[in-house]
Symmetry: C3
Subunit: 345 residues, 3 copies
């Protein structure tokens, strides 16, 4: 690919996507916000829908489904009543990782916990703080970067639903956990990111110094390695080190497989400055095929070094008439979800 | 797959398999049992045998080989003299991960440490507790979830032996480690679990509140992601958190590759109740092909919610004459061990 | 493969390779050396070159490029000015993991930070110790086992450069980190180790009791599992446990994917004695194809149990005239870099 086609492709990521769905107030200055104690009841309605381009998504309102589905953010002790409304013509479900639910909320055909076309069902998800058991041992808490997905469409493991976009992030925080300014979700689903066409992001925008959180989920058939340029994280529950003597590895590249999820927070541009920082799958033929996006960090003047130049060049090319906007976006879901890729394992 | 065929397949896992081979006494009430100090000499004889269906296995008695082989459970400080009796017509060996042994016990052709047909050889495995070296640094202990396998049959890396079932679990405990009521072994070997036919488990049974341990081993050519419904574990040495401030991730899904092993304990149904909880590879085409089993947690009345209904339905179908018991079990080892799958990596 | 061809292949690893490029003085007796405080400016020139056999490498001197490239060893607080001289006929670059650099040093086409044929460019890499931020949170330090690689040759992700050998290790130490006697680099690059022909190592030599460090990097398209016989490490930042209560898993097998890197130190032969200890990818068809080498641990007399016998046998075979030295070495890069393997994922 020559530089100009490369530029065009990267720019197809377009306007940075704001995927934070947390209702939490924004931080002011450097005052640190932390998670309050849990114990709330949360009532959420999710609509499972077919999108016009063939994808499937979950949404908080009818006709507003997205891929990935909305972020559900809880604190240990919270309970979520998630009512799934299935507007599609196939049975779908909601299976969540990491949270507490009875077998009747498992979202599997085996447990008869799907939702038929036109039906609704309420899944009850509970969470709990760490605690000591009667036998003196420690029970782990629910805190973590988790996810929900269909477990019924296309196969007994939801292969068709997941392939088409029926997945989303769940974060369970522990009281005192540091809250980010913004949360973004990146799902490596077969050879797509978030079921988007290749070479089209998503791109995420931040100001220098923002505390930004990423939730990284994997689905499909393939393993991947998630790499981010210029930013690193600790390979633990929160991505944040407990202190200078914490022996946890700090990484910027991590192997992941279907069903895996993790998350971390970064200070945008910390120690490296503003810029258009790439993130991508580091499996070479995956990145070459377009599993790549940009973390756009603006400097104090609101400019994004290296990115602005691409945008100007991109604009110039468009005026010259050699632009092809359809190159990436027009491919829709077909290539984006990696079907027919013929990859082995 | 329609629901009835799905049910039949899952039920082929049949009676739950008790794979605990530990001689440890069962816990009474909530009294916690912990590992005693090591230092014992353990003498074990393992027979490498061909099973009638073409599989190969290790067993503690002649004619009693199983796949996986028997659990060998040690405490740091113990030494095991493992005599391998090779009843097969090909040279086989015993290679163990994680333990201390001289190069003459390596189980490789390179080190001339295999056992010819009809021969015997004693492998000496030592273990040690953590300790301080002369230079002041800490030496790690042997404690961990390890495994043994053939390193000679079919190739210099035992590809044929491992493919056919010559593998088993080794647990080395640290004094004070919490002991489970029961230990089960799950081996993802190519696209089989424990070299069983697809869609046939194994299933494992427990009573609500039992402390159950799983050892998870991977073999073959493929990566997998091990997922369990309704249960989680800490991604550390024991799977048990050290306390409420432990920063270790709690997970219910983990990417694994050949030679990997890990383990954890769960309290059956804790916070989620009884039920037929699935575990499976989360790689979509692996789960769809049948890399799935059930963790059957009985309630106080001895019933397993959702499972009993399947059994009744299953029984009804059998009476109706549309049952085909051979569907899964008749396929033997051929499909179970993933040969000829044509998967790439 | 019969034993004799196996022996010949393993011996093609030949004389053990000393890959340590650290200028640190050797330890005397058991006195422990630790990393001094950082803050130095390091000026390094790297030459990107085409080797006569088609491989590409980085070197510290013109005409001396190696695969992997030289170890760059820093301490937190150090800054490296790395001048890249591109002697090749294609644009190449230097992209580093884990360190601090501005977007103009990213080594990507997107950021215009490559080096044209015949050109030079200085990449500035900074490192930092852990510290407390203004908001009271801990910022992680730069310490870790990292790596650098081309990001331009053959694709926008350097697929051609990396495939051909443009990669090398970077270690950033924390003040007080234990220093090894010697550091070796093992790169699983597609189905080669260090772009060598199959079944040809590299082999590494040590005396019993030496503190030896391994940096393990993965590149290409495939996942692997790195396994070492007779030696283990903690799965944390340094590979060394913090103490007897450290809950970090101790492992001898680890799944890795492209872009991953980790490292660890072992005491050669500790608890297991001298010998020719294999290390290999545990993915069965990768090890069978030759992703294997030897860690040769000499005893007090300078002999390597099991290895000497192979050498004598090897020598005898050579005298018998049935030797084919070209079997492995003559294949050059073609097979070594795994091209045309037709492997899926």
């Amino acid at each position: 690919m020559d530089r100009r086609s490369f530029n065009r492709r990267m720019l197809l990521g377009g306007a940075a996507v704001a995927t934070s769905l947390s209702a939490a107030p924004e931080a002011v200055g450097t005052s640190l916000r932390t998670a309050p104690a849990g114990g709330r009841i949360r009532r959420i309605t999710l609509y499972a829908e077919k999108l016009s381009d063939g994808r499937m998504g979950y949404g908080l309102q009818r006709g507003k489904a997205t891929v990935p589905g909305p972020l559900i953010e809880l604190t240990e002790g919270d309970t979520a009543y998630v009512q799934l409304v299935n507007t599609m013509d196939v049975t779908a479900s909601l299976h969540v990782h990491g949270l507490d639910y009875t077998i009747y909320q498992d979202g599997t055909r085996w447990s008869w916990s799907g939702v038929q076309p036109g039906g609704t069902r309420t899944y009850i998800w509970r969470t709990h703080a760490p605690g000591r058991r009667a036998d003196g041992t420690w029970r782990e808490g629910s805190a973590g970067y988790w996810h929900y997905h269909d477990h019924m469409v296309g196969s007994d493991h939801g292969t068709g639903g997941v392939r088409n976009g029926l997945y989303g992030p769940v974060i369970v925080r522990r009281v005192g956990d540091i809250l980010p300014l913004r949360t973004h979700t990146i799902v490596f689903n077969n050879t797509s990111i978030n079921n988007r066409p290749p070479h089209s992001g998503p791109n995420f925008q931040a100001a220098l110094g923002d505390r930004v959180e990423f939730v990284m989920i994997t689905h499909g058939d393939f393993y991947h390695t998630f790499h981010m340029h210029g930013h690193r994280w600790a390979n633990n529950r929160t991505g944040i080190l407990a202190g200078p003597h914490d022996t946890c590895p700090v990484i910027d590249n991590r192997i992941v497989g279907p069903g895996d999820s993790f998350g971390f927070q970064v200070i945008a541009g910390e120690g490296v400055g503003a810029g258009a920082w790439m993130y991508h799958c580091h499996v070479q033929h995956h990145s070459d095929k377009g599993m790549t996006g940009l973390f756009l960090v603006k400097d104090r003047n609101g400019t994004i070094p290296t990115y602005e130049m691409h945008q100007r060049e991109h604009q110039q090319q468009s005026q010259d008439g050699d632009e092809d906007e359809g190159e990436g976006n027009g491919e829709g879901n077909g290539e984006g979800n990696g079907e027919g890729e013929g990859e082995g394992e």
